[in-house]
Each structure stands twice: as C-alpha cells, then as structure tokens.
Symmetry: C2
Subunit: 386 residues, 2 copies
C-alpha cells in the first residue's frame, strides 16, 4: 500500500450557522486547500462525509454540488454515509483512493447542517441508524442507549455521575481554548450535575449539542507531500470494524467491540501500541462514551477509564490528553463533520498549530469516530512525517 499524507486541513466554526450545507463544506474545503498550498492544483477526487443532507436540508448528491461550488470539476466526487462515523469513512475512502494509486490529490470533507431542525426531529433522525425492528420502532433513542451504558458502568465498575461531569468540565475547558468550538463556556462539576436529565443518568451536560459545521483535509501520496509542506502528517494506520446492530445481541453490552477491533487493526498496521500515542480525539457524543472508548481502544484498563479522568491523566496537560479540541461535547457534533474535524484537530496538534490548546510536542495521534451505537467504528492513527 502506498503511503499517504495529510498536507492541509481546515474547518468552519461549529455552532448555529446561517450558511447552507454546501457553503459550509466549501468554506472548510477552501481553508484546507489554502492550508495545503494547492489552490492551483487539480484534484482527482472529492469525498464528502454526511449523514442526513437529504433528510435535513433536502439536498442529495452534495459531493457533486461541492465540486461545482469550488470549481474542482472534473474531479471524481461522492458522499459517504456511515451514521455519525460518516466523516472518518469519507476520509478513509479518500485515503484508499490515494493508497491504491488511483488518485494523487484528494479532498476529504465532512459536514452537517442541523440547527434549523427541531430537536425532536434530530433525535428521531439520529435514531434511524438503530435496528429498524428491534430498536427504532420501540422508541429507543441514542440518549437512552447512552443512559443504559452509563448505568451498567456504575453498577459494574463504580463509575459515578461525578465522573461524567468531570469529562464534561475537561472538554468545556478545552473548548474555551478552541475558536472553532460551538460551546465557548466554562462549566463546573456542580453546574453539570445540576443540569436537566435527558435520560437518567444522562444530563444535558453529559451529551453533545446539536451543531452546524464542516471540516476538510487534503491528502496526497507520502512521497509527494514534501513538495507542498514541511510538516506532512502520515497516516500510520487505520481500522474499521462493525459489530451486531442491536445492543441486546452484543456479547457484552459494556464493551464497544467495534472500537476494540478497529483499534487493534490500526495499531497493528501502524506497528504501534497505545503507549506510543501522545494525543487523542474520541467520539464523546455522550461523556460516558469517552470513558468507554478510552478503555476499549486500549489506553486504559477495562473499568478504569473514569479513574484516569479523575486523576487528570486525560486533561490538556495530562499524560494522555483526550479531546483537546473540546470533543463533541464542547466543539459540537455536526454529525458528518465530526470524523474529519477530529483529524483536523490532530493535524494541528501534530504540527504545533493548535494555539492555546496545544498539547506539548505530540508525535503520534489517535482518532475514534463512532457510527451507530458502537456497531461501526473507524480509527485512524496519524504521525509526524518530518
């Protein structure tokens, strides 16, 4: 497989945005193209991660539309949908296009426009990724699933609500330092613990907001990356795995098996172990997920993730900073954008361009984008190539 590098990235501010979806994708893409210094180059292929454009903004074939809006025709273009992991799936397929030799310059973008819809509509639409007969028709929502997982962790591993609040506080603190973050507000453990209950024990502050936004990266063969930048980022490994769809059929509902398998694949490909990673972005659509993913990805022992949070290990100045961007909790979660935004943050971190939230001299980074409720996970491991 041909080595692949990221040579530039960009994103829009996440939040409530007036622009239409393709405009947001265009804004992020043009920033990435400028960051990569390839404004005068011809792109071979464009991948767009998006979960719900047809449902939310009544537009299909948005990859064609993006290509048109920023004048990249005749580049190939397609949209990739993989629930909330649509962004990482788009990135992965862009990576494969370059790795195969079929493409030399690829744009991988992701975006979603959500805030114009009612929360009820969003909650319903996001739930359409659950099993249609075993789950969806019975009214199981994603917050309900997160609540069940949190409850199981409380019973089995001694997690307390305070730990969920601590993750939120950490991510809000990081988000305050991220000009692209949706939520720019500090929160306290007590404040989080007095917010409204969404699905017991999940409160408002243990869940991500509904956001608009987009992110994009530019990919090229590793061997050509130095023509464009002194700081190329190499994709050292990736993994992608599914699990059975319904929670009730999982071997152990407290284990995110797809995270486990995909992480193992990525580490194996990269010839690295979790100890080699310096900075991490996880998919904390709910704060319980950051804890469980941090274990199933191999960073902490099973059932001990919450203790790492308690000890500050995952803080910006800790041993293993998790979600320096603010995570989905504070940065926001425009669903299709998230996977690409995670990679964007990690590229900035590895290049030393993360401003106030810069982690100290990271060399290798890990991203986990989570589709479904743990039944489809895409992992990427990035490293400095200079």
């Amino acid at each position: 497989m041909r080595g692949v590098a990221i040579i530039g990235c960009g994103m829009t501010k996440f939040g409530r945005r007036e622009e239409d979806l393709v405009e947001l994708l265009a804004e992020a893409s043009l920033r990435a193209i400028e960051h990569a210094g390839v404004s005068d180059k011809d792109f071979d292929s464009v991948y767009v991660g998006n979960m719900m454009a047809g449902e939310l903004v009544h537009q299909t074939a948005i990859a064609s539309s993006l290509v048109d809006r920023i004048n990249l025709a005749p580049a190939a273009a397609e949209r990739v949908e993989n629930g909330p992991a649509s962004g990482a799936s788009a990135f992965k397929n862009g990576l494969l296009a370059v790795a195969s030799g079929a493409a030399d310059l690829v744009l991988a973008a992701g975006g979603e426009k959500m805030t114009a819809a009612d929360t009820d509509v969003i909650t319903d639409l996001v739930s359409t990724m659950t099993h249609p007969i075993a789950e969806y028709v019975h009214g199981v929502t994603l917050p309900a699933m997160a609540a069940m997982l949190a409850r199981l962790y409380m019973e089995r591993y001694g997690l307390t609500e305070r730990h969920l609040a601590m993750v939120a506080v950490k991510n809000h603190t990081n988000g305050m330092k991220n000009p692209y973050a949706h939520i720019q507000r500090l929160c306290t453990v007590e404040g989080a613990m007095s917010s409204g209950v969404i699905a017991d024990p999940i409160r408002l502050y243990y869940a991500c907001p509904i956001s608009d936004g987009a992110a994009a990266v530019v990919l090229c063969p590793l061997e050509k990356a130095r023509e464009f930048t002194d700081k190329p980022i190499r994709i050292a490994g990736f993994g992608h795995a599914t699990d059975v769809q319904t929670l009730q059929e999982r071997e152990d509902p407290a284990v995110l098996k797809s995270v486990k398998i995909a992480s193992q694949q990525a580490f194996k490909m990269a010839k690295l172990t979790p100890k080699d990673i310096d900075v991490v972005e996880l998919h904390d659509a709910f704060e319980i997920l950051e804890i469980v993913q941090s274990e199933d990805a191999g960073f902490f022992e099973k059932g001990k993730g919450h203790l790492a949070v308690e000890k500050g290990v995952t803080a910006l100045d800790g041993e293993l900073p998790i979600n320096p961007s603010g995570g989905l909790k504070a940065k926001g979660h425009p669903v299709g954008a998230t996977g690409v935004a995670q990679i964007t943050e990690l590229v900035w971190q590895l290049r030393g361009e993360a401003g106030e939230r810069q982690v100290k001299d990271p060399k290798r980074a890990f991203a986990c984008n989570f589709g479904g409720f743990g039944n489809n996970t895409v992992i990427h491991i990035l490293e400095r190539a200079w």
Copy 2:
C-alpha cells in the same frame, strides 16, 4: 495498483417488492456470495450504494444494518451516495479498497426501495440532486431536463421521436428475456409513441419506471480470483468525472462532458478503445440518454447515435449490443441498485450466464452509471480473465 477481479454477483428481481430495503440488499448479497463460492469466508469490507434510504424508508447507516443482517461483522461497512450513480460509486470504492491492498474480500451492493412512495415524492426527491438555487427551487425536474436534451438533439442532429421509441422497443425486447427485469412486456414503436407525455417530447415509454430492488458483487485481488472461480472478471479500467452542476453553465448542453472524460479515463487505464468493447450497459433513465451516452462514451460519432439504433447496431444481435439487460427502461431503476446491476449483467454476459439474452461470446464490457443530470459519471470496463 493491484489488479482486482469480480468473482460473483447476484441481484433481486426488480419491480414492486414487499421486502424492506435491507432485506432486498441481503437477498442480492447472499446470491452474490453464493455465486462467488465464499459463504464460509470472512469479508473485509462492505460498500452499499443507495441514494435515498433516509428519505424513503427512514433508515440510515444501512451498510451497518446489512452487515448485521447477513452476519458479516466485523467487516468494515459504509454507504456511498452519488445520486443515481451511487451503485457504481460503491463498486468503485470497493474496487479501490482491494486495489490498495487494504481488503482481500469485498462485497459491493446497491439497492433502493421506491415504489411505496408516491410518484410526486420520487420526482421531487430525485430533483434534489439538481442545483439547489439555480435549478431545484424553480421546479426543474429530471424529465424536464431530459426533454430539453431531446429537443436540442432533434434540432441539431435530426433525432426524431421515433428514435426514442426505437430505443424503448429494443430495451423492452431485451427485458422480456431477463427474469430480473421489472417490466416484462413487449412494446411497439407505435405503442410507445402513443403513450402519455411526461415532459414534451418525453413520453412515458421514453422514461424508466420506479422500482425496488438490489444487486451485489464480490471483489477480490485478481491474483486470488482463481481460487474461487474459473471465470473471474477483471476490472480493466475505470473512470469517474464531474462537470458543472447547472445545465445553463455547461460548455455545450448537448454534450455529457462527465461521460466523455470518465470514458476516456477508463479506456486509457484499460489501454483499450471503444472498438474493443463487445457489450455495453448505459444509463437510460430516459431513452435520449442512451443515445447521447453512446456517443460521448466514444462508440458512435456525435449526433449519429440514433442512426445506430435505427440500423439495429445496438440490438441484442447487433454489432454492439447496448443494454442487453433491458436497461433502466425495462429492467427498472431502483436508483442505488442500478450501477451494481449494470455490472452484474455484464459479469453474466462475459461469463456466458445471461440465458436467453446472451450476447455472442463477449470478451470486454462497458458500464456507464450516471449521477446528477450528466454532471457525475462513473465508468467501468470489465474483461474476461481466463
């Protein structure tokens, strides 16, 4: 780039189906897996082409659902959407996954469930792939675009309505021999020409029906294909190109530039010319498109495609059979399925498994799947590898 082969394929009957979308995808996939003789093997990756699952059947992340339904976890899984070219885009990305070395066994499926919705809803949803501001909001539908193209061809090249009817008659005749075809009914030139007008000069019989259905193929490295079948089909070339989105901005609205560029890419990669092709599947969502694509793909001189139809060149027993399956016109057009169904038909043709509609001893085949109204085209060239 590592060589890639198709080792098996399958599809459902197209038409009005009672089964849900994932069930249709499962039926086609299991047939393809059985045809490939890999029922006991672990798949690395699953790609699903689909345009409108969220909008039409209120289900997202259907690739995860398919993997679950047919027990392929932990295979990677994602859905690819590229308007009506979603099927070929899914296939292409499956091909790249194998070509890159990332995957050794890939399922590429495509499907759509459409007949439960009103025709108005379908017409509107399909139109959401047009330019949101320059086209969609003004009520331009796909039949209207086809009508404008047909009219231009009449004025510029002497096309008559009778030629559109001839394409329909040919495709209905072929469809009668295809047990998977939605429409199993002969039609006459006079019958077609007396059907109702949809958008002048497009009549009902110059347009494809609305269908449910799915198709699937199994891909593996060419070097391993012989382990599974004596009749592997090699992907000799592919191309994928976009054009500006709005009709009004095209250099020449009578030229499907994305078809032209993508075809040239595919022929260049395959080191072949149009003369080397023995059987062709084109995207006749409207019969005018079969004529125009046959020219822009390079099979006939510009403005002469309708004369080839008139002379019987494109008939099943002609020099260059086009749409032996019955095409979208008679086989049906479950949108996301079409690109994969085209490839399925060509695999059967190349392997000599096409029954009554078998073209005489074809060695190389060409498929054109058309996204948007000519602004996103995916081409594949297949050939016997034995």
